[in-house]
């Protein structure tokens, strides 16, 4: 293969082990792809080329001796939320200007221990707050996917159309790409864009309300948010600690399984890390789903949902039924309250977690007439609008006199949301199938969303329930809409049953195929 960036992780792994390619070659291929594409896509905020070359060289030395870990020589992108020792780590915020941690997050340490190569730090919404990657201090990330129009062109029958078909009648169909720039989703927009555009073999990401699954759906990639407690949160910049969970974004289901196996661990440094061995997720791929009970929740059929999303959902149901699964209608009655409860719990936790950015210990400092003035000026200059908005909401709902009405009520509703899931799992449902997002990717600087923050929040309507209940969820590409944009389906599993998600997502992938954007950058 001429372009090494086209290899999936599993393909690259085989070629690296057989010495058909070297880690240095594949790393160089990615570094030049990034150099060419990043000015257009803005997926990376920092490229660690020297470190990447050093790591690749070390991998090659190991591979030459027939040694090396499960990801030896595989080049990855790292979301800017992960602490990476001596390397830019700013959660894409101005307030963390110049911050280079003196420690390595547990997840990235796991990846490096398994031989992965770091290409750089990936763009994201500031402090992971956003659904379009437009709140980053480093500017928006661009989706490698663009809308397209299907044209039928009458051609002389001898014409050999470029990328089109020559039909007997002398017409051909061709997709014409629209120039409008689209968002990759958020908050892990840099991760999704980079994976989709072949700027890394896979990427780390995090998901507090949908930040892995929504961008994966918008870019035709696979993203899994594992069960809360499966991946250590140690060394990841905290947003909402009871909801945050890291996971991978990858080009196919197998690659996501390979990455999660390395990222997940039992970590004494995170008290919420669960003492359960990490299974071999890859082994679940290819297992038949005959007899599996798949739940279809009626509450996910929301008003104004495009007909295409409903059709995609039906297609997913048919694929799983054809593979021998039993489809059952289920009810998760508190679904509609998940998003409002989230917009109390997440800002409340964020307001507390982000109190540490005070201009004293790290990052930006803007002077003031006294220390309080210095705090206020630093935080006013350092945080963007969305982050301020959420800190303000969080501070308000936790302030004296409002705690019971807002925070306590939301945490009670959260118990009910979790109970809904427990009830359907207790009734024998193995996995739940839903759409991943209520729409395909939308335009940069969408006016409706800019005018009304709640409209932007509605992007997470299908994903946020999973965070509220701490469950695992995977987004897998399921097809293109009429404008040629990818759409995804979501599978929700029992706690710590990521294996069933990989197993079932693979069935969808087999039916839908993997998706690749047409290159314009």
């Amino acid at each position: 293969m001429s372009d090494l960036t086209q290899l999936t992780i599993s393909q690259a792994r085989a070629k690296l082990r057989s010495r058909e390619i070297t880690a240095t070659e594949i790393t160089e291929a990615y570094l030049s792809a990034i150099e060419r594409a990043n000015p257009a896509l803005n997926a990376y905020v920092v490229v660690t080329d020297d470190r990447a070359r050093d790591m690749a060289k070390a991998s090659d030395a190991k591979l030459a001796k027939g040694e090396g870990g499960s990801l030896e020589g595989i080049p990855l992108g790292i979301k800017d939320l992960f602490g990476t020792e001596g390397v830019h780590t700013q959660a894409c915020s101005h307030v963390l200007d110049g911050f280079k941690p003196r420690y390595e997050s547990t997840i990235t340490a796991n990846l490096w221990a398994d031989g992965a190569v770091m290409l750089g730090k990936l763009n994201m919404d500031e402090f992971a707050m956003g659904s379009s990657n437009e709140t980053s201090y480093y500017g928006p990330v661009i989706n490698p996917w663009r809308r397209s129009r299907l044209d039928t062109v009458v051609m002389p029958t001898t014409h050999q159309g470029e990328g089109g078909f020559v039909s007997a009648g002398g017409t051909r169909t061709a997709r014409t790409l629209d120039n409008a720039q689209l968002v990759p989703g958020g908050s892990s927009g840099g991760s999704a864009s980079a994976v989709s555009a072949f700027l890394c073999a896979g990427a780390t990401a995090t998901d507090t309300g949908g930040s892995i699954r929504q961008p994966a759906a918008f870019t035709g990639t696979v993203g899994i948010k594992p069960t809360y407690g499966r991946c250590s949160r140690w060394g990841i910049v905290a947003f909402a600690s009871s909801l945050d969970q890291a996971g991978p974004i990858a080009r196919d289901v197998r690659d996501a399984a390979i990455l999660l196996k390395s990222m997940a661990s039992v970590d004494p440094k995170d008290t919420t890390s669960v003492d359960l061995p990490v299974p071999d997720y890859e082994a679940a791929i290819g297992r038949p789903i005959k007899g599996m009970k798949v739940g279809i929740p009626k509450e996910y059929r929301v008003d104004d949902m495009p007909a295409e999303i409903e059709a995609l959902w039906q297609k997913g149901i048919a694929w799983l039924r054809d593979a021998g699964a039993e489809i059952v209608d289920i009810s998760l009655p508190h679904t509609k309250y998940a998003l409002p409860a989230y917009y109390i719990v997440a800002p409340a936790e964020a307001s507390s977690n982000l109190a540490r950015y005070d201009g004293v210990r790290y990052g930006l400092r803007v002077p003031g007439k006294d220390i309080v003035d210095m705090y206020e000026n630093t935080r006013a200059a350092g945080f963007g609008r969305e982050v301020k908005r959420r800190i303000m909401i969080g501070t308000y709902v936790l302030s004296a006199g409002y705690y019971d009405a807002y925070y306590l009520q939301a945490q009670k509703v959260r118990t009910l949301i979790k109970r809904d899931f427990e009830n359907v799992f207790a009734a024998g449902v193995d996995v739940i199938l839903t759409p991943a997002t209520p729409s395909a990717a939308f335009g940069i600087a969408d006016e409706d969303m800019a005018a009304d923050p709640v409209k932007m929040y509605l992007n997470d309507i299908f994903t946020v329930t999973v965070n509220m209940a701490g469950l695992p969820g995977i987004a897998v590409p399921a097809g293109l809409d009429a404008k040629g944009l990818p759409l995804g389906l979501q599978l929700i599993g029992r706690p710590f049953d990521e294996e069933t998600l990989f197993q079932t997502a693979h069935v969808i992938e087999q039916a839908a195929g993997t998706l690749q954007p047409e290159k314009w950058w």
Binding site: G98, V274, Y337, P340, V360, Y362, Y396, V413, A469, P495
Partner: protein, 95 residues
Amino acid sequence: MSVDIKTVKRVAHLARIAVSEEDAERMTGELNAILGFVEQLNEVDVSGVEPMTSVTPMAMKKRQDGVTDGGKAADIVANAPATEENFFLVPKVVE
């Protein structure tokens, strides 16, 4: 419930974020939109429901009460905007 501009300024001060008159005005609208959206939670009957404290039914792990780390003052102040001899420097807080 909704907030007025006076409340927004008070909350901004509690959150230690300086706001201009214009910021406060804009935020009042935005915060009220969000508070209006979360209002629907009041419809839910939560009588007898325990608030969630942990999504995984597990007791928080406890480690031995022993020193496991330390001696890294230089690392700890390495990223601070102003330091002197491994101390963080802040504007004068006592007269």
